[in-house]
Symmetry: C2
Subunit: 333 residues, 2 copies
């Protein structure tokens, strides 16, 4: 069970910027063990009490577009302006294969060597696995540990852009122009959750291509509804390896953030996100509670087998499990 | 509470093909009233016991691509081959606006006049609203009512393609060639859940454009992993208004279905889908159970207000609600 003294110590170390403590705290919050739950809740609530101005930035785009490659220099740029940077890679597990889509995470080489950066590459177990990664809770822990710029990287498949949009202050969508095939396209819903669109790998030798792509994106954006902030996304060009456009992108992000603070949109958005977060925490927490209930586990397996054999319908099996979960009421390990 | 005699009667009428009874049954299954839940579970389990060979087809693609326009002739083609066709329009509510993306559903004019077709246009409340539409349960009801071809239309935003992929036997992805802007693109994850891709509005005067688009799609498909069926999607051309390509598309769908029955993939996929369905029914059912718990409702509002004001963190509020839900154990209205 909980060791309140130990957790006090852990939280103190975390607030002092101890990376090992931060890593441990995140592991605790991601844990699905029932014994860890109350400790995790207490830790996150403590972290929340640390008031600090921070900026949470989503970095989205399809695999191969260069997210890690861009995060490296943009993180270093932020550090150059006196910030401390945490990078959370959400990598939703591929729904089809069940495996992680990304392999290595070594492309953030330079950033990972900075003492002002913290990189947490973790594959989520996805919603189908029953428990989503606790990204929002992890953001709070990183902020309590003194990281004031949080970059949440997300693989551009399925619902990840919409997921990250309910956790971050603004989103950067990465894309590549002129690949000429449909694979590189951006879906309407994805574009609508971008605050700034970045054309990556902007080769100076292909300046015309990039100018055309930018114009075509701006044309498309004009047909989209504005973001809730009232703004439509700007389209910027970067070349991560040479560093071209990185300073301008960071300046644009800072200016967007300042504008959003000035209008009060920043605070309003975070308040709305907290309300949504409650819904998600309830949904995920309930399922986790049921799946880890010792009185349910054996029964779950039996019902799963009946469902697989076709003997029992999934809807009825779920209703039975929920009923049993309710009436077993509150037994803790 | 339940009126078993009335529900027996409802089920008998439904099995006899009574559309009004089917509509009532779907409304019952979609109901979030606690008093309706047991009746809904019993009804779906009865529907499941009706064994019938059916084909569940997902129709996906971004808004404006012509899904309703294609469903009309393809539904009539299926009816011409002796089938009875149910159309379920999932229309996930727009996560940003909270409103329905599609307006009218009048484009299935001819199909809606057929006595062999049943069209159910309903907007889902989305996962953020707490309760997802019970599409899988509705499919079973339609099948029990004698509809052996089920077309599940889904708006091509966010996660809808992945959602429909866990409910249907095969998916048709609609797209338009040569629009030249990124809005019309297809994301990798979406393409990977397609069993056949249809270029709609294939104007004969733009034959070259369509041939190019088809070749470019086939090139792109070659780089994708094969579907679990072992197949890669074929690319077909249709022109819904003139009817060009509709018979060929239907023949292709039938041939895919026959192939998948022959290899045993059809049954295997349905069994896998039942296991996933259990997970989703659990997650959605638990949240619904909590949100409709009379002992929770008042407390939920208080906690929501505390979260909105920033006094309480969402993670802790969720944990408190779950704890209260557990210990209040099984009180029914």
């Amino acid at each position: 069970m909980a060791d309140p003294t130990g957790d006090e110590e852990l939280f103190r170390a975390l607030c002092a910027g101890d990376r090992v403590a931060l890593g441990k705290a995140i592991t605790l919050v991601e844990s699905t063990r029932r014994a860890d739950r109350d400790r995790a809740v207490a830790l996150v609530e403590q972290a929340r009490s640390v008031q600090r101005t921070t900026l949470r930035i989503g970095i989205t785009g399809i695999p191969g577009v260069g997210k890690s490659t861009l995060i490296d220099p943009i993180g270093r740029e932020a550090i150059g302006h006196g910030h401390r940077v945490a990078v959370l890679a959400t990598d939703p597990s591929s729904i089809r294969s069940g495996g992680s889509i990304l392999g290595d995470k070594t492309r953030m080489d330079e950033l990972s060597r900075s003492e002002h950066a913290f990189i947490r590459p973790t594959a989520s177990r996805g919603n189908l696995g029953g428990v989503a990664r606790r990204t929002q809770e992890t953001i709070l822990l990183c902020e309590a540990a003194g990281y004031d710029v949080i970059l949440v990287e997300t693989v551009g498949v399925g619902q990840s852009e919409l997921e990250v949009d309910r956790m971050t202050d603004l989103n950067v969508l990465l894309t590549i122009p002129g690949t000429g095939d449909e694979l590189q396209g951006i879906k309407r819903g994805v574009m609508e959750s971008a605050d700034v669109i970045v054309l990556t790998k902007a080769d100076p030798k292909a300046a015309t291509l990039y100018a055309d792509a930018r114009r075509s994106l701006l044309n498309a954006i004009a047909f989209l509804p504005a973001r809730d902030s009232g703004k439509r996304p700007e389209v910027l060009l970067t070349e991560a390896l040479s560093g071209d456009g990185i300073a301008a992108l960071w300046a644009h992000i800072v200016s967007m953030s300042e504008g959003s603070h000035a209008t009060g949109y920043f605070e309003k958005r975070r308040a709305q996100q907290n309300a949504q977060w409650l819904q998600h925490a309830l949904r995920d927490g309930l399922l986790e509670e049921l799946l880890t209930d010792p009185g349910i586990a054996a029964h779950l397996e039996t019902l799963q087998a009946s469902v697989r054999s076709g003997e029992l319908g999934p809807f009825k099996a779920a209703a039975e499990l929920i009923e049993r979960f309710r009436t077993s009421g509150g037994r803790l390990p």
